[in-house]
């Protein structure tokens, strides 16, 4: 594709500046940086929710209310939500790019992906910030 730019005269003293964007480089880097954060955030989340102190059997509305009373866990969950969605969405983007054969398929799968990412990030963020422990009152 746009590789032709750089390959045309590889030994020319001054090659034309590549006009490609560095998006894929940043995406590659983001996967590693967010991955490091997610290792702590997600494994911590799984350990607390599934293993510690009775695991999933102790989870109910009251349990969530107790956790989200603390800004620390709100921020934990918020960062986990955003990072996991963007990290996972970017991963799926790569998978779609790899396996979709037709341009139209690739286009629509990515639209679906981006819509779902925006939906889930917005919904999750909304819920964390507007959670009301006394919702039934």
């Amino acid at each position: 594709m746009s590789n032709a730019l750089g390959l045309a005269k590889p030994r020319a003293p001054r090659r034309p500046a590549a006009r490609r964007s560095n998006f894929e480089l940043y995406s590659w880097l983001f996967m590693r940086i967010s991955g490091m954060a997610l290792v702590v955030l997600v494994l911590g989340h799984l350990f607390i929710m599934n293993i510690l102190d009775g695991g999933v059997h102790r989870i109910n509305f009251g349990f969530v209310a107790g956790r989200w009373a603390s800004p620390f866990w709100q921020m934990w969950d918020l960062s986990m939500l955003w990072l996991a969605q963007i990290h996972g969405g970017n991963g799926l983007r790569t998978v779609i790019n790899d396996y979709a054969r037709k341009d139209a398929t690739r286009f629509w799968l990515k639209i679906l992906l981006y819509v779902s990412m925006v939906l889930i990030i917005s919904l999750g963020t909304f819920v964390i910030f507007t959670f009301d422990p006394n919702i039934t009152d």
């Binding site: 991955g35 997600v42 494994l43 059997h57 939500l81 996972g88 396996y99």
Partner: protein, 140 residues
Amino acid sequence: MASTTATEREGTSRGGGTLYRGDLGMWSWVAHRITGVLTFFFLFAHVIDTALVRVSPQTYDSVIEVYKNPVVNLMEIGLVGAVLFHALNGIRIMLVDFWEKGPRFQRAMLWTTLAIWVVVMVPGAYFMIERTLSDLFGGK
């Protein structure tokens, strides 16, 4: 090499090029993809079920009960296993990419990854299934 996609793809996706045939590294790459996609789909459902706390405590509690079902409990162990592999292998990928000796030890690091996975998953799965087993077979 172990993690990127662009070069691996050359000559494979269109037309009859040879398949990318690595050995162990290829399978860790395949497993990384599968566990990643799986986790992403779960996340979609999980954010929605958690959002039910905005509906009512009863709605949330009744949906969370699903997670306590024995069959779903087994699937949770599968999910934890998938996420744990993805995390450990992700660390391995970062070491391959950023640590000067990473590429040389990538194979050893894969075995290490799998060893840590087993060591964590055996007690992890036990604690996750304990309550389900005692409810099912405990005989009260």
